[in-house]
């Protein structure tokens, strides 16, 4: 009897656990709820405001927003795709686009009729897959510029005008290297371009380090490589051959990491992705300037007791300045349980109506021109001049914007390029070693 009772109890417990599991549905999906994920905590209030507008315009539909940190975001999203607990709509990054397209987890959005001309140039086209179908709607954009400590620049006798008209070349570094050298100060107060400068005892580096830059070098070497006329692959989108073996590229990398050997840029050993990124070095007064992205504008502006300004990237050997223009998008999961609602929400996210609301928050540049204008005005209200980020997009004559590399096997490219670049920067390995890495990458892409 006792045994039977125990068995019955155990059975009941198992049943209750099983049914409990079946009831637990973390997505909260239903026909009137659209689940939406994003990673940037600064943008959460702006999108919450957007969701309110959407719910007002679509009575009966609700948007449930979840914010997750960048690294957890992708792990959880992947797990969600496998377990069927993915959100209906999520913020997508171009770096992951190729992989998600390969895995066929994205819903085609051609019927939303997204027009290139409604958004800043190039943003809409990036989200067309190799099959010619659209998998993302333009959401926002960013470029890279040179943040600098205004007081340190003044002490070095460098005006905003001078810093905005620098030029560089891989041979002697041009006026850009001269400025960076002059901003560098050693422990005894000697500047980088003064006699007796001690490169092993630097107090303030002219340029902060942001590490080796993986395969994209977005906030490291990409502006220099692109202004020297180099491209990641043989064509703008869905290329099949990377060009890290190019002599032009390798000469740029040699010069760029060479800044650290001269003591003008912080060495690789000072960089840590967790504890000491470029913005931390500027905030701590250990670096006078840093190449960084528009998504960091509010962070740099918020450093207490420091006046941080921004300048255009330098003009390169091609006679143009260059900056990476990257844009995020909103994508719908193929397995979404509420595709009709998700389509409506994505269309709303891509509209001027929502993007102007987001722009007004002054945390990011929305993809539509009206949204961008609203953001510029909002930054101005906060007394932040963002011209260094917006001018390259508006001025096609003197500036070149280029996209994040869009290819298959993006994760493999990163896995191979990360140690390769760190070896050159940190261990002084020759840039010609990139020939072999490039061969390995192209072999993977040719599969």
């Amino acid at each position: 009897m006792r045994l039977r009772t125990l068995t019955a109890l155990a059975g009941a417990l198992t049943l209750s656990l099983a049914s409990g599991c079946a009831q637990g549905d973390s997505t909260g999906a239903s026909s009137n709820t659209v689940t939406y994920w994003l990673w940037d905590t600064n943008q959460l209030p702006a999108y919450q405001a957007c969701a309110k507008g959407f719910e007002k315009a679509n009575p009966g539909l609700k948007v449930k927003i979840t914010q997750l940190g960048w690294s957890d975001y992708w792990t959880k999203l992947t797990a969600g795709f496998i377990a069927g607990t993915q959100p209906d709509v999520f913020t997508d990054h171009i770096q992951k686009f190729g992989q998600f397209a390969d895995l066929k987890v994205l819903e085609p959005l051609d019927d939303l009729d997204i027009k290139d001309s409604d958004y800043q140039p190039g943003l809409a086209a990036n989200w067309i897959g190799q099959d010619g179908r659209r998998y993302g709607t333009p959401k926002d954009w960013d470029t890279v510029a040179l943040f600098y400590n205004d007081k340190m620049a003044n002490d070095a006798g460098l005006s905003a005008e001078q810093l905005n008209s620098l030029a560089w070349n891989p041979k002697d570094g041009g006026t850009f290297e001269k400025a960076i050298a002059h901003l560098t100060v050693d422990a005894k107060g000697r500047r980088g371009d003064e006699p007796g400068f001690d490169k092993n005892n630097v107090k303030v580096y002219g340029l902060a380090t942001n590490g080796g830059g993986f395969g994209d070098g977005q906030t490291q070497w990409s502006s220099f490589a692109a202004s020297a006329g180099w491209n990641y692959t043989e064509k703008a989108r869905w290329g099949t051959e990377y060009q890290y073996d190019s002599k032009t590229f390798q000469s740029v990398i040699d010069w760029y990491f060479g800044l650290a050997k001269k003591g003008y840029m912080a060495p690789f050993s000072d960089y840590n992705i967790q504890s000491n990124q470029a913005n931390t070095q500027v905030a701590a007064g250990k670096a006078a300037a840093a190449l960084d992205g528009a998504w960091m504008i509010s962070s740099y502006a918020g450093f207490k007791g420091l006046d941080i300004k921004s300048a255009l990237t330098p003009v390169g050997p091609t006679g143009k300045r260059a900056t990476m223009m990257n844009g995020l998008a909103d994508s719908i999961s193929k397995a979404s349980k509420n595709k009709a609602g998700a389509r409506k929400w994505v269309a709303y996210l891509a509209s001027d109506e929502c993007q102007t609301v987001v722009g007004k928050a002054g945390v990011v540049f929305p993809a539509t021109p009206a949204g961008t204008e609203a953001a510029i005005a909002a930054y101005k209200k906060k007394n932040i001049d963002v011209t260094a980020f917006t001018e390259p997009v508006a001025d096609k004559k003197d500036s070149r914007t280029f996209s994040y590399p869009i290819t298959n096997y993006a994760a493999d490219v990163t896995a191979l390029m990360m140690p390769a670049m760190e070896d050159i920067y940190g261990n002084g390995k020759s840039v010609s070693s990139l020939d072999q890495t490039n061969d390995q990458i192209n072999l993977i892409l040719s599969q």
Binding site: L3, Q281, A411, T414, A415
Partner: protein, 321 residues
């Protein structure tokens, strides 16, 4: 069956089991009794067995199967035979990862075991204070990730207080976690810091089992602490030490979180330990087949090391007469 069913085991004439019939009766009764116990035992074991089957046995078998496939999680696995193993043997990053892991384990286990043993002996021979014994365990109360982050900040080349002190002493700053040479020893020592108290506690428990009169007798004979350590403590602690070693070596081979938090496998793969490489291949690059093959390799290496350790240290036997 019928004979025994009427005779409760407690009433069997155990003291007078001379006749063959009685022996048989006892055996039958015991079998019957065992059957009753067996069912109850099975019931109690069932949850653990279920857990073992669901969380260990099935994943292991499935992992072994997946190691022979190309699998990206979202589309069905595709059988590729030994391809993943061939790739593994020819993959210099795999061998480098294995080497880096071994380097980590040697430093981690070497330093940890010696320090833990020293702490355990000191705790046993010098103090009775539970407070002092407890304090040794405190780093273990912290999660690996938090411990990693705290040390990352302390040791940061440019901003860490550790390097500020080194610099104030007039010595060049050390890129503890950002230099090829220093990174693995630093991570190994961070984990020694966190685990040494726990290991010491296990050894301390082993020391408590050694009869105190042995030390008293040795003292009467005029033996020094040093001599007592080598002649009494070490031989009698050996089985416990062996088990602790087996457990810590297995744990050490699985190092992941500290690496993920402090160096992310860098600089230039210098801390790309095997678990981190497996994780990156699976969850970063969606190569679950290849990652499974490497996991199987790790399983084989760990099993071999464990068997070897068990044999060499005679972990199953004690010298306590």
């Amino acid at each position: 069956m019928t004979i025994a069913s009427n005779s409760p085991p407690s009433r069997l004439p155990l003291g007078d089991a001379s006749g063959a019939g009685t022996k048989q009766r006892i055996r039958r009764a015991a079998t019957r009794e065992n059957q009753g116990d067996g069912r109850l035992a099975a019931l109690f074991i069932a949850p653990a067995l279920l857990g073992f089957a669901v969380f260990l046995l099935w994943p292991t078998l499935r992992g072994i199967y997946l190691s022979f496939t190309r699998f990206n999680l979202l589309t069905p696995p595709e059988w590729v035979g030994l391809d993943n193993y061939v790739r593994m043997v020819n993959d210099p990053i795999f061998w480098d990862s294995l080497w880096v892991t071994v380097e980590y384990v040697v430093i981690n286990i070497g330093v940890q075991t010696v320090s833990a043993l020293a702490i355990a002996v000191l705790l046993q021979r010098l103090t009775q204070s539970a407070w002092l014994r407890g304090i040794v365990l405190t780093p273990y109360l912290m999660s690996n990730v938090v411990a990693g982050l705290v040390w990352l900040w302390i040791l940061d080349t440019q901003l860490g207080i550790g390097n500020e002190i080194i610099s104030a002493l007039g010595v060049d700053r050390i890129a503890f976690l950002n230099d090829e040479t220093w990174a693995i020893p630093t991570i190994a020592l961070i984990n020694v810091w966190r685990h040494v108290g726990y290991t010491a506690l296990l050894l301390f428990a082993g020391l408590q089992a050694i009869p105190g009169d042995m030390y008293e007798a040795a003292k009467v004979d005029g033996a020094s602490e040093w001599r007592m350590f080598w002649r009494i403590t070490m031989p009698l602690l050996r089985p416990v030490l062996a088990v602790v070693l087996i457990m810590t070596v297995i744990g050490s081979f699985q190092v992941f979180d500290t690496v993920a938090v402090t160096t992310a496998g860098g600089p230039a793969n210098a801390t790309n330990v095997l678990q981190y490489y497996i994780y990156g291949s699976a969850f970063g690059r969606f190569q679950f087949g290849y990652a499974s093959a490497m996991s199987v390799a790790l399983l084989v290496v760990l099993s071999a090391i464990t068997v070897l350790q068990y044999r060499l240290t005679r972990a199953g036997q004690t010298d306590l007469g």
